[in-house]
Structures are given as C-alpha cells and as structure tokens.
Point group: C2
Chain length 259, copies 2
C-alpha cells in the first residue's frame, strides 16, 4: 500500500461509534507504528481532513470533507436526487426510506427520509454500515454484484445481529437468486429486530450495481396490501434514481416483473 | 510537502468551474510531473476519493467524500444547524442567506437558503470561492482574523470583480476596522454587480473566526428599514450559529452594539 493509501485508510477508522479517535487508538486500530500514524495524521490535518479537539487532542474529521462533498454533489447530484425521491417514497408508503452506497467492501447509508404518518418509525443514521447478508439493501446489491464479490462476502464470518439473522450461506444464496429474479430483496428482522426492509439495487453508468434504495417498516405494520405497495414503489424509486444519476440497469434486470 | 499533502493538494484543483479534470490538466495546474500525478491520482482513486469517467477518462471527485462528510456532520453538525438558522433568516428578511467557511487561504460557501418572497433573488452555489476583499463575508472574517492573515490577503493582487470592487488596501483596512467595531461587514456590488451583502463572523471553540454568515439582497431592494432589519438579524443568526456549534465570540466582539 502506498503512503497516500495508508493515510486515507486511516480516515476509514472513523464511524458513528468513533467520531473522535485518539492517537493511541488510531495506532492500535491501524496496526501501523505510532510515529508513522502521527506523521500521516499531521499531513491529513494540514490539509483540513482531520482536526484535533479537546484536552486529549483526539482527532475528528475536518471541514475540508464538506467542501469536497459539495463539489461531488455538484458533479453527481446523488444526494439531492435521492432526498427528492425518498421524500416521495415516504409520502407514498408512510414508512422510512433510505439510500445506501457500496464503497470498497462496505455498504454505507447515504441519506434517509422519515414519514410523519405514524408515531413510531424505523430510525436511521447517515454513513451507518449495513451488513450485506442481513439487510434488504445488502441482498439487493449482492443479487447484481459480480459473483467473486458475493463469494467473498459469504466466505467472511457472517455476524448474527438478531435471533432472526440468516447466516447459512446456502440459504443466503437462495435469497440472492430470488432477489435477482424479482429485482428486489427483503429482510425481516435480520439486522434490527422488528424491522422489515425491502430494497432494490441502484446502478451506475456501466450497468454495475452501486448501492440500494430501501423502505424499512416495523414488522407489526406490514400487511399484505402495504407489502405490495412497498415492493412496487421501491422498485420504481430505485429505477428512477438510477436514471436520474445517469445510470443504466443491466439488460437482465426485471424492470417490468411484478415484484 | 509530503506525499500525502501532495496527493490531497490535487483535490483542491476541483471547483465549480472544474468538476472534471483530465490528467494533462491536473499535471499542468499542479506543476508536478505527469508520472507523479498519475501515481497519486491512482492512489486517490483506489480509496474512492476520485473516479474516472467518460471516454477521455477525466477525473472527478468520488463517493467516499460523501461518507466522510456525513461523519463530519455527525461530529459537528454545522451543515444542518446552518441550514436551520439560514431558513429562519430568509423567512425574516425575504432575501438569500448563506454560510461560508475558511479553509487554508480560501473562503468557501458551505450552504445557502433562498426566500420565496420575491420573484428575483441572489442565487448561490455551495463550495463557491468568495474573495476576502470583495465580499461582506470576507471582510467580516478579516475583521477578526490574525493581523498576519489580513496582511497576507492585502499583499496579494486584489481582483476587480466588478466596477465597484474596492481594491485600495488603505480603504479596505478602514472597512475592516469598521467591521471590527460593529461586528458586521458589508459590500455593495463588490463581488457581483447589484448585490448588497451584509455579513457577521462565526467563531470556533478557541474564539477564532472560522467563517461568516451573510444575507445577500439585490441592491435595488435595499431600503433603510430592510437594511436595519438585515444588520440586526445577521448578527443574531451568526451568534446563534457560533453558540450552537460549540464556539465562543472573542471578548471584544460587540455582541450588544446596534449594528
């Protein structure tokens, strides 16, 4: 790994559970030696990618990432287009909707929207890590991902997030095949108890999957009618998003099939 | 400059006028040699900070910056707090409001809000570069910046954006002194013709200025009453933003003085 990649890999240590990280923890988590970590963090700091705060001088992400994100959004307005589409989807379904994107080996939520219709709802955070095997979003992505990627995911230890999480590779392969035929995947309580998620993949300019669009509802609220509505609207919304960011579905994506 | 800083400095070449840049242009703009640029861009690409698009394989910023921005926002919710405050300010004034942040030697707009009250309005883009000497936001920042920073800005060639742009360092120093006394700065048509902007500084945790909050209105709409309203509300909004992001005003900031 080159020096630049090493430095940027340190930024991947930040997540919702670790918004601030001290030098010792970065050293431990990265497996690099402390002098190297210090030098790389200092360079990241000089460019505004991280800053030090508090009496313990812990690191957190810096303001430069906001400027870059605004320019990325000007080039590819996936965030604003997603928010627009998710808002409509929430209005139609009365449930929480979200978009997640794959980066490397990770599926991260990009943005979400809530419906005000019910007093209870599935809550989300942006930049949350979703499991491929335990979420509708992950399975929808895997259904159209290269088989090497799928095998790689299934070869890793498959975390059991709830008592309902499916961790049997054979049954997961069946779920993936089904999602490929229908163009939509679902997960009932696999990532968080009592959450029923439906998701469809989003595709990029080369017909490759880049992430998923999903609706997550409390299991107790799912009726056959609501389920039919969600499955139809999730698929329409995901296709809409794919088109509006300049993407294309693969030729075998079942655009028309009743999901 | 270290290798990491070199690589990250290439990311600063992207702006609204250059959302996509080819390898030759990056080479020319950076002054580095082509082989080095190619190697650094390849490392940035491997980490998702840039991606190549189109038949000419031009580079644009990649999706990883969106993930980092969401985590920065979770740590320091300046974007969401700003949007909240700007929306109220637009409602109160009927004009466009925006927040900009200083990164290194540059003042960049972070976010903006429009009022629906009038058929015409000042329009903005996020991540736009604002001149320190020609904008209310820039002057408000300079009024509380270290004197070395101010001297550095005034020693550079001062671009004339419009026929109204003030470029005389002596008169600019007077404007900065006045802004320091009042806690608010203004610019009439200095950056864009027919735009009257009022701005107040935003401060960070160490009482240092980090950017500005401004209201920009068409010159033709500015009445004495509207001007009084804008000056009062811009200052209140900037103080509110400073407090809500965990910042503090310097002890000599004129919080109470009628602006």
């Amino acid at each position: 790994m080159g020096t630049v990649s090493k430095a940027l890999s340190l930024l991947t240590l930040f997540n919702h559970g670790r918004l601030e990280i001290g030098l010792s923890d970065i050293t431990r988590l990265s497996g690099m030696n402390k002098a190297t970590v210090y030098r790389l963090m200092s360079e990241l700091q000089a460019q505004g990618f991280v800053e030090q705060v508090g009496s313990d001088r812990a690191y957190r992400l810096g303001p430069e990432v906001l400027r870059l994100a605004a320019l990325r959004e000007a080039a590819v307005p996936i965030l604003s287009v997603s928010q627009d589409i998710l808002k409509k989807l929430c209005d139609l379904t009365g449930e929480t909707a979200h978009v997640s994107l794959v980066r490397g080996k990770q599926l991260n939520t990009l943005t979400h929207a809530y419906s005000p219709r019910h007093g209870t709802r599935v809550t989300m955070e942006d930049a949350e890590i979703l499991s491929f095997h335990a979420t509708g979003s992950g399975l929808a992505y895997l259904a159209f991902a290269p088989s090497a990627f799928v095998e790689d995911v299934l070869a890793q230890p498959l975390s059991r997030h709830t008592t309902e999480t499916e961790t049997d590779p054979k049954r997961l392969r069946e779920a993936i095949s089904k999602a490929r035929i229908l163009g939509i995947a679902e997960s009932v309580g696999g990532f968080e108890a009592d959450v029923h998620s439906h998701a469809a993949p989003i595709f990029g300019p080369n017909r490759e999957p880049i992430g998923s669009l999903a609706v997550a509802a409390p299991v107790a609220r799912i009726t056959p009618d609501l389920k039919t509505l969600i499955r139809r609207e999730v698929k329409i919304a995901a296709l809409d998003l794919t088109h509006r960011i300049g993407g294309f579905c693969p030729s075998d994506y079942p655009q028309e099939k009743a999901a």
